[in-house]
Structures are given as structure tokens and as C-alpha cells.
Symmetry: C2
Subunit: 238 residues, 2 copies
Amino acid sequence: MSANIYWTIYNDYAEKIQNGDIPAGAKIPSESELADSYGTSRETVRKALGLLSQNGYIHKVKGKGSFVLDLGKMKFPITGLISFKEMSERLGRKSRTLVYKTERVPASRVISAHLDLNEGTTVWEVIRSREIEGERVILDKDYFVPERVGTLTPEIAARSIYDYLENTLNLSISYAKKEISVEPATPEDRALLDLNNLSHVVVVRNYVYLEDTTLFQYTESRHRLDKFRFVDFARRAH
Amino acid sequence: MSANIYWTIYNDYAEKIQNGDIPAGAKIPSESELADSYGTSRETVRKALGLLSQNGYIHKVKGKGSFVLDLGKMKFPITGLISFKEMSERLGRKSRTLVYKTERVPASRVISAHLDLNEGTTVWEVIRSREIEGERVILDKDYFVPERVGTLTPEIAARSIYDYLENTLNLSISYAKKEISVEPATPEDRALLDLNNLSHVVVVRNYVYLEDTTLFQYTESRHRLDKFRFVDFARRAH
DNA sequence: CAGTGGTCTAGACCACCCT
DNA sequence: GGGTGGTCTAGACCACTGC
């Protein structure tokens, strides 16, 4: 996005690796070579390579060089704050969003606790299900602090709320906490999802914070058991 | 671990935050102040603060400063390559490990595929269940490439295999990929876990790589649905 | 305006690897 | 010994927030 040099280098190589232009196991140019070829300093190159390493694109070995990993392919993310729309587009699957509710409602005890508000405070409630290849397999229940989001409409909810928040309202999402657990299906789950008699659902609770560290969204994503998948890449602490 | 300056700063503040010595919302000293007080340069301080930020301890705001987040408490990890033993100790729960099997066996078709070996190659198979507060809720099935691990014994398996690998064999684990899904319980799950009639288990497949990028361990961690929990902290891409 | 974090530079020394 | 990545320095300029 920015005109940062390290960001340019990062994207150049992330793309080359994802496209397979540089095969898994291959060595990328040394830090000094990259510094020369991009006309920058080694520390700046190192910033880019650090990002590539963190995100599972490369692996750096002292004394030898940096090598391409073969994990770049299935970067299947619930990880990393990616939206349903981005995800289904990336996978090229036929998908559809069904909007059940887009309303301002008083927060229930549970919801107000999740959003750290007083019970009864007005919040936006958006309830949608996600249909993939003809089956409703995800139920998304979103709650927003109303001062931040202005007015939501079913049309916005059907497209991408994140698009609207980031590009129209210029809110900048900063970080989020996710909790994954498995819980018994509720009557609502049975009504709005095609559960096929499965007794439980995977629940992903997502707390989204803005740049000023205020919590402004709580989302409960309820997945049919057999359609849930989560991939995580982790480097050893040190 | 190392005598690195940035590592020292990171640990100092990670500890202060975890202990509550610096409360959530408080501002930590500016980068220049930290550089002075640690007798180092600003870039080195920035490296430490970058780590604190990534791990959810602080949040940096341009023009204002760095502020403590309140997520440091329940850093409940399957995230980050932490072992069962470390985890249960951290939580102070009564737990026990039951070792069912510690043997060299020819790899099945499935296992050889996971470890990228030829079918029938000899691998170490370790099967253990984890009992927490009297119930067996996790079934761990580990497979190791034998050239790397030498000899495993039930005694080692009962303590911590990672301890043995890292401190005795001096293998250095580098990175890992995890996949989480939910699958029907197998007869083995029913035999070795206290499933309470639950029909499915959460399966965490873990692929562990060494510094030289070779895959050397595949682990299948099978959790009872109601005892599974996963927490993830993520910063927005940019 | 002074103070903050974000980016970048042009060096330096070290530890490690390979030949 | 020459090449590599890991750490660190002492500056610089910018963009942003606050007063």
C-alpha cells in the first residue's frame, strides 16, 4: 500500500513465492545483494525479510541464506482478520450471504459484557448466514458500538461491512482477539444453518479494536463442525 | 535467553505487564527514553517494542506513545508451539500423562504421507493421553523421523519429549504448521479418552520443522470437544 | 512548538557456514 | 577466508498528536 521500500520488497517476494516463480527450497538473494538491487540499506531489506519469515514465506539460516518454504499455497485464513468475502473470493467458491437482521437493539446482558458496555445500551446487531455451495454453514452475529459505525443497511451487510467501515467511514481496524471453542448448537443455529443433525457448532468469538484501542465490534461466527478449518503458522519463540 | 539488549528490554516489559506492575492503558516510556535508560540506540528499543506489540502486550500510536493492552493475562496457548506440560504447569491444574505406546513401527500410508516419507519407513510412534482433573481429555499421537530422535523411552514420553529433544539431543525446533478441524471420534478415541458420548473430537494436526527446514515430527492432538479452547491475537496487515 | 513513533542510512562487529 | 545472517549504532527526516 504505502510507498515504503520494505513493503515493496515484501510484496515483490510474497508474490513471486505465491506464484511459484521462486520454487520451494530455492535460495533468494542475500541481504546485501537485495540492498544493492533495491538501492537501499541492509536494515531495510532485513525488515522485509523478517516479515516474509514471520508469515511463513521464507526461512532464514545464519551463515547460509534465506530459503523459500512451501507453505505459501494454502494460506487459508481465519487467521489474520480476513473477512468472509475476501476468503471465499480467494478460494473461488460459489457463495452467498443471507441477511436476517440489521437493526439497532438494546444490548443483552451477554452482549454488553462482550462489548464492555452497560446493559441496554443501543448496539447494531447484524445477523447473516453464509452459504457455500448451496449449504448454509456459517452463522455470523455481529455487534457494533453505534457511535462508530453510523448507519448500517441490509445492502451494506450483504456486501462487506469491513469495506464500508474502512473505505467509507475510514475507521482503521488495528488488532483483534479470537477465541475458538465448540459448543452445543442453539435453536437459532438449527433454524439458520443447515446443520444435518450435528449437535455442536464451532464458535469463533472475535473482538475487534480500533487504532485508539477502543473495542468497537464483537462477532460470533458459528460454523458447522464439518466445514470448519483453521490453519496457523508459528515460529519458535527463540 | 541470549544476552541481546532487545531481548532484555522485551522480557523486562513483558514481565512487568504480565505481573500488572504496569496497568492496562498506561503509557510506557518513549523510545528515546528507553534508549537512554538502557544505554542503547532507538532502533534496538524499537525491535523490542515491535515484539511486545506483535505479541499483544502493547499498542503503539504514532505521535502519542506506546500503551499497555489488557490481553497479557490469559495468554492461553495452543498457539506458539508450547507443550502440554508447560501449559498445564502455567495454569496450575492437576494433570497427568498416560503413556500407551512408545515404539518403532513401520509408517502407515497416512502417516508416511504426513511425514513425507515412503510407506513402511520406520518411525517412532508415541501415544499418550492427558488427564486433567481426573478426566482423559486429550489424546496425543506423535510420530518422529527416527534418524533425528535416537531412542525414546516411556519415561521420556511421560515427562516432556520437547525437553529431551531440545536439551539432551540439542535439536532446535524452528517453526510449525497447525491445522485445526473437527472430526468424528474413532474407536481409539473412545477407548483412550473419557468422551462422555460426544460424537466428535477436535483434531489439531501439527507439523514441526527443524532449523534446516526438514520435517521431523507429525502430531495429532485429539481433544474432547468441550475441553478445547484456542486463543489467537492478530494485528491488521497494515 | 516540542514530543512521539515510522522509515531509512551507512557504517560496524559478531557468529556461523562452506570450501 | 569470503559469504551469510544477527545485532547494534548514531545519526537523519518524516507524519502525527498535543498544547
